[in-house]
């Protein structure tokens, strides 16, 4: 707590040394302003407009005294209010900066914050699920960035460090990832880490992003609105009805804007620390997903995209949850890509497809229908409830993953590695029981991908249920490595303290000293 123990940000060293127990750092002093600029701007705007209005409405007769009089409030009062605002904001910003400290040790990331309600958070580095370096527009002006450290708690509470100098944020990211990977430290300088080199994989051209946005579901919706509008005008003979469409079209425009600016400059790179995604026009984001942190992958294709052979790839990462911040694009591994690009990114997150001919299998999974490449689809009786899709709804288990295919118009392929299976469920309603069908659900962590196989025959469903449970159990036994660069020493047995005790009688957790296990 002593002031002398607190170091200001040191940007001098090239590498990064992890901190000992007593070294604490502060975020950049400008950060509260970057976070709270909206409030400041609002106050400035209100006072500025009032005083400007008074200037113009009061006229200008060359007499400063009369100006103050006509303004309805003496200049002194305005000054006092502005002064008070500056002091209050300044004090609040100063305190919030002063009370926020962080520390990155070899094992943990600590963040202490809060003036009145103090919060101390501690997260285990080896439990990191993903790290984002985010630069909102205002932060970019100052050359600052926010570091987001995700642990597996369903996207509820990432550890955030806002804001640091961009270089500092990148160094911290490298340090955390190096510690999480379990890479052997350089014996000459223990504690020193270097950023892992990264290799460019692919980048999307602006034209593709724009075309993809205009051929997406927003356009289908817009077409529906236009058709509905035309029908309404024809039917009622009142063109004024179209006014009601204005807010809808503003919304549609905003949707396009979000899709384009959010995914702009999308770039994928890979490093030993994991897959790195860069994107954004105004707010830029660099996501790092370490190896083995992807819980499930979903590849989808709408009807308009089929004409161009484009796909979108979603992922489930335990820390992201269903979090929709950043326009829901955090869970997107590839916003729009051709088959080859999809295969390229799949290869990054999922290096071992577990089949000899992965291309053929995945193409069969993406295109269907039928039972090519070992896919098992719904039985004939399913056509009563699935007249179009029954030959498309199918699954295939490879040695390493389960592939679930569904849909005719909106096509979808879900891939879940066996070792990421959380739990399984079979469901059957009365109608399905009559037709001899069953739904198979595979539970993954919270996210956009919800693996499901519709309307299997009871026999296939039961077999899949039993086999998948066994496959998942086997895969878990083999695959126990959390630290991906650590030297292999047989199956890694977790120390007893590594996780939250699996048995707790209460779901409630104290906010203080929260230990983020998995």
């Amino acid at each position: 707590m002593n002031a002398d123990m607190v170091q200001e940000q040191s940007g001098a060293s090239v590498g990064f040394h992890t901190d000992d127990e007593h070294t604490w750092h502060r975020v950049h002093p400008v950060s509260p302003l970057v976070r709270g600029w909206v409030a400041v701007a609002a106050v400035v705007f209100i006072f500025g407009r009032n005083s400007l209005e008074s200037v113009f409405s009061g006229g200008w007769d060359g007499n400063p005294g009369s100006l103050a009089q006509t303004a309805g409030a003496p200049a002194l009062v305005i000054l006092a209010v502005v002064g008070a605002a500056v002091v209050i904001f300044g004090l609040a910003f100063f305190l919030s900066w002063r009370f926020t400290r962080y520390q990155v040790t070899d094992e943990h990331v600590h963040i202490n914050s809060g003036v009145v309600f103090r919060q101390q958070r501690r997260a285990r580095i080896d439990r990191v699920q993903a790290i984002d370096v985010v630069q909102p527009l205002v932060a970019r002006v100052f050359g600052l960035a926010e570091l987001k450290f995700e642990v597996a708690d369903g996207g509820k509470s990432a550890l955030k460090l806002s804001f640091l100098k961009l270089g500092e944020a990148q160094r911290l990211r490298a340090a955390i990832l190096a510690r999480a990977s379990g890479a052997v430290a350089d014996p000459a300088s223990p504690g020193q880490v270097h950023e892992a080199p990264e290799t460019h994989v692919l980048a999307l051209k602006p034209g593709r992003i724009i075309a993809a946005a205009f051929l997406g579901s927003t356009t289908i919706f817009a077409l529906c609105v236009v058709v509905a509008g035309v029908v309404a005008v024809r039917w009622s003979g009142e063109p004024a009805i179209l006014v009601a469409g204005v807010p809808i079209f503003i919304g549609i425009g905003a949707g396009y804007w979000k899709a384009i600016t959010g995914d702009f400059n999308f770039r994928v790179a890979v490093s030993p620390d994991g897959v790195r995604l860069y994107y954004g026009m105004l707010e830029t984001r660099a996501q790092t997903i370490p190896p083995g942190r992807v819980q499930a992958v979903g590849i989808s294709q709408g009807p308009l995209w089929r004409l161009l052979g484009w796909y979108r790839v979603h992922i489930n990462v335990a820390g992201y949850g269903a979090d929709s911040s950043g326009h829901g694009s955090r869970t997107v591994l590839l916003p729009v890509g051709t088959l080859d690009e999809v295969m390229a990114v799949l290869g990054l997150v999922f290096p071992d497809p577990g089949v000899e001919n992965p291309f053929a299998v995945f193409i069969a999974g993406l295109r269907g229908p039928g039972n090519a490449e070992g896919f098992v689809h719904s039985p004939r009786s399913a056509r009563w409830i699935d007249p179009l899709a029954w030959r498309h709804n199918a699954f295939r288990a490879t040695d390493t993953a389960l592939l679930c295919r569904h849909g005719v118009i909106f096509r979808n392929l879900q891939v879940v590695p066996h070792e990421r299976t959380q739990s399984l469920r079979l469901r059957q309603g009365p109608l399905m029981a009559a037709l001899g069908l069953v739904d198979f659900e595979l539970h993954s962590t919270a996210g956009p991908v919800r693996p499901l196989v519709h309307h299997l025959s009871v026999e296939n469903g039961k077999q899949l249920f039993a086999e998948q449970a066994a496959r998942a159990a086997t895969a878990r036994r083999i695959h126990r490595k959390e630290k991906w660069l650590a030297p292999d020493a047989g199956p890694v047995i977790e120390p007893a303290t590594a996780v939250i005790d699996p048995v707790q009688t209460s779901q409630q957790q104290p906010t203080q000293e929260q230990d983020h296990g998995d």
Partner: protein, 178 residues
């Protein structure tokens, strides 16, 4: 460890073969009768108000078919539920296998769920006032997935405690990363 089952367990086509399911306590039937009965009575009390008003002449404009029909529907649905409850409770079953816990349930909407021990994040054991009176507990298994809705109602308290200990021991032995 399950109670002696005098009546045959409800079974469905989707049950995995060669698994013997343990049943929950028959006292759960009583618990559900009381619980559903009370909820039903409250609904009945609400829907019967217009009928009373009509019969007493305060609100004679209220249509007769609605005044009689609404409570009748409520009474019928309560009775239907009451008929189903014993079968529903007897359909609940669980089985501890080497690697996972199986839970089954439902008579019209069948479901079978498997939760691997190594995937359990924590186990909740809860006891409401009604359950406490009857000596029952509810056990709820949580994994990292929000889709895992593995709940077992109506376990005798001792059995719930045993199961919790058993699950935690096996969970620790089989624990895997996410």
């Amino acid at each position: 460890m399950g109670r002696k089952n005098l009546r045959r367990q409800h079974s469905s086509a989707i049950d995995p073969g060669d698994v013997v399911f343990l049943r929950v306590s028959e006292k759960l039937i009583t618990a559900r009768f009381i619980e559903r009965g009370l909820t039903g009575l409250i609904f009945l009390a609400i829907t019967i108000v217009p009928l009373v008003l009509r019969l007493t002449g305060v609100w004679s404009g209220y249509p007769a078919w609605l005044a009689w029909g609404l409570p009748a529907v409520v009474v019928l649905s309560i009775m239907w539920e009451m008929i189903l409850i014993p079968r529903q409770v007897r359909a609940i079953g669980y089985a501890e296998r080497d690697d996972d816990l199986l839970i089954r349930g439902g008579i019209m909407f069948h479901r079978v769920m498997v939760v691997p021990y190594g995937r359990m994040q924590y186990v909740d054991v809860t006891m409401g006032p009604l359950e406490r009176m009857l000596g029952l507990s509810t056990i709820h298994l949580h994994t990292a997935s929000p889709g895992t809705n593995a709940m077992l109602n109506g376990l005798p308290a001792a059995e719930a405690a045993r199961l919790r200990e058993q699950l935690s021991a096996r969970g620790e032995a089989k624990l895997a990363g996410l």
